[in-house]
């Protein structure tokens, strides 16, 4: 297979565009075969991938990159197995391309069919996690899109070996390997260029920290789906089952504090604050969570730190939780709509009217009743993998699977109609 010379990103986009036309015209089973072959080549190439990853990790340690980044960068045989399993699962999912979403028959006899089609070329700009490389490539192949992958430079060797394996898999399935392109620029030049290539990139998805996403949103001329930032809340209503509330809050904060669907602020109705706050503090203390409270919280829990305005705005991604006592469900909703990032929000309540009002009023991609926010995830939704969690409202909201990587076109058939 081709060695990775460093072609220009424009040329890569051109190759991807041409290859994407083959993808959309082939039968679905061939794309699914490609996904299985990609999985098998990933497993076959695991040794090479792990070797490359070791070098990337060593360099990153030497360069003093932060621990969480290195943790996200480091692969293991188990992680590569997971990546391969993800590709197999995507291959088994129902088709998303070619579906006739709707048929309109007009009085003049025109038949208008709305048909699901791929975007064409999808660009993904991401950071250190090499498993994004295979997830994103897999979802794009499933949805008949070619993909331009631009990962973090600290993962470049790893991503090169992963992409070689994925492209090998495409080739073995008789699919043009140019459908998967790794953009291997050592600086940001190519990434910035990708943001302006309106003619050759149909959709751009940034995945990563807030700084990356902000940079893409600010600079991009290509249509973008914003993903990621999650300043999520749990609201414990006056009608909550407090045992359930405790379990949900602990799970949503502690099961993986570094991810976007973890909660950052706990809102508690004043009527149950005296009962709930001491018990939740006890269990969160035992999990190492530091609390920061509003003035009313501090009266009940005088030993914790006070919260400042910036606490309500912060995605800690850490074992820290801001706590606020609210006077009503409406106050909780207003707080969430003011400070939230439209990601995932939950209410714990036994009152169905409170639940319905919360779900109707909170402006977020995923609004939960009596469940942990941690379920906002492509796998948990049954999408096999995800391209990220969209926090904007255009096109796709929440976990994005293969279907969210499609658009539609209208096919209109007539017998000579004119207007």
């Amino acid at each position: 297979m081709s060695a990775f010379v460093e072609p220009s990103v424009e040329n890569q986009a051109k190759l991807a565009k041409e290859a994407s036309l083959e993808l959309v015209s082939m039968e679905a089973h061939q794309r699914n075969l490609a996904l299985r072959m990609m999985a098998s080549e990933l497993l076959a190439g695991a040794g090479k991938i792990l070797d490359a990853n070791r070098l990337d990790v060593e360099d990153s340690l030497r360069a003093g990159l932060p621990q969480p980044l290195i943790k996200r960068l480091a692969l293991s045989p188990g992680k590569i197995n997971m990546m391969a399993k993800g590709l197999m699962e995507i291959g088994d999912l129902p088709e998303v391309v070619g579906e006739v979403v709707e048929t309109l028959e007009r009085p003049n006899g025109l038949v208008i069919r709305k048909v699901r089609v791929p975007f064409g070329v999808v660009g993904v700009i991401y950071e250190s996690r090499p498993d994004v490389t295979s997830d994103a490539a897999g979802l794009c192949i499933k949805s008949a899109n070619a993909v331009l992958l631009r990962g973090g430079k600290e993962a470049l060797r790893t991503n090169k070996t992963i992409c070689e394996a994925l492209r090998e898999g495409l080739q073995k399935a008789g699919v043009n390997p140019e459908c998967i392109q790794l953009v291997a620029d050592p600086d940001r030049t190519a990434a910035l260029k990708m943001m302006t290539m309106r003619d050759s990139i149909d959709l751009l998805i940034p995945r990563g920290g807030q700084a990356l996403i902000k940079s893409v949103v600010e600079n991009a001329k290509v249509p973008v789906i914003e993903t990621g930032a999650g300043n999520c809340h749990a609201y414990v209503d006056s009608a909550a089952d407090l045992d359930m509330a405790e379990q949900i809050v602990v799970n949503a904060k502690c099961s993986n504090p570094a991810v976007c669907n973890a909660i950052e602020t706990l809102l508690v109705h004043k009527d149950i604050a005296n009962r709930f706050l001491p018990r939740i503090k006890a269990v969160l203390d035992s999990r190492g969570v530091r609390l920061r409270g509003c003035p009313i919280t501090l009266k009940i829990l005088p030993e914790i730190e006070p919260a400042t305005e910036s606490d309500w705005e912060t995605e800690y991604l850490d074992l820290i939780l801001a706590v606020k006592v609210v006077g009503s469900l409406e106050d909780a909703v207003n707080h969430i709509n003011k400070y939230g990032t439209k990601h995932s929000e939950t209410i714990v309540t036994q009152d169905p009217r409170a639940a319905a009002l919360f779900q109707a009023s909170v402006d977020a991609a995923c609004v939960y009743v009596n469940a942990s926010t941690r379920f906002t995830d492509g796998n948990e939704f049954g999408y096999g993998a995800e391209m990220g969690i969209s926090t904007q409202k255009l096109h796709a909201r929440g976990p994005m699977g293969a279907r969210e990587l499609t658009t539609y076109k209208y096919l209109i058939n007539g017998v000579g109609q004119v207007r």
Copy 2:
């Protein structure tokens, strides 16, 4: 009702956001009542609107603005009736908000409902046509969005009287008039500001000429749906019914050459070029259409002007048609995919395989078989009115009605599930 003092656009967006929350929580019949009252106030205010319009038109004539712009600006009693009728029709359309698009039940018992919801606040930046004011406001109220309308400054007096009537209609239906905001800036300051107000405008739609749309796409940080530019083609296949082809080409070019769904280039298969080109020239001549041909066309029609590269790229919006003879259907598709603007494309053919291949391969919002491209229109699709024709692939493609002004959220109900 409130006089139009000139509040800041930030303040208008804030008022709109607050009012939008009332819109989404009210029953659909109240929004539909509002649409009917808006129509009735438009009719009641027709005299005032026409007076204001006369002043706008006089000023524009004095300022020497181009004829087509003045034609789009000028209202008549008939046009106001049409605007009112449009609002009534939108009121009668099926509901688009609150629909449960999909329900997923997960193995862990979580029930995930995907529910259609409004964006919140929609911004519309447009040019001289005052009927956009009522169409856009109507579709936004139908879809429970508040709207910030920023029309051309040459139509400002007209738009003020129209908005006064529409807001009066809202008030008479018991709906907060702040749902409809006219941004009345005399220069581009407020429009430019709208493009950056990510926190308060959920979606921005530019409607107008290429320069306006380009400026919005280049400058906007708010999610944008690009509308409008239509470099559309008709391809007459070797298996075409030439009578039908003639009717479709004439209709698509001549019935309204100034609009985006008119064709700009005619592609003709080489096998029928000798028969078709002379007859289509004769009828287009009689309609005043000037042709510009490729070298092969010039051999058959030596009296017409030669086409240059820029002709293939140009949206004439005028009685000019570029003509090219192609060697195959594939050549036609490649030409369209290279030069088209992803708007509307048509093939005339009696060969179902050619039709299917054309529809599968052409990358455009609307791909026709044996019909005029002029049907790409919200009314023709049964949407009552339209917010424009989207030529991008994100979120909505082709004619955008009220449904295209909605997004969705996931409502997830559990019984205490944690992950």
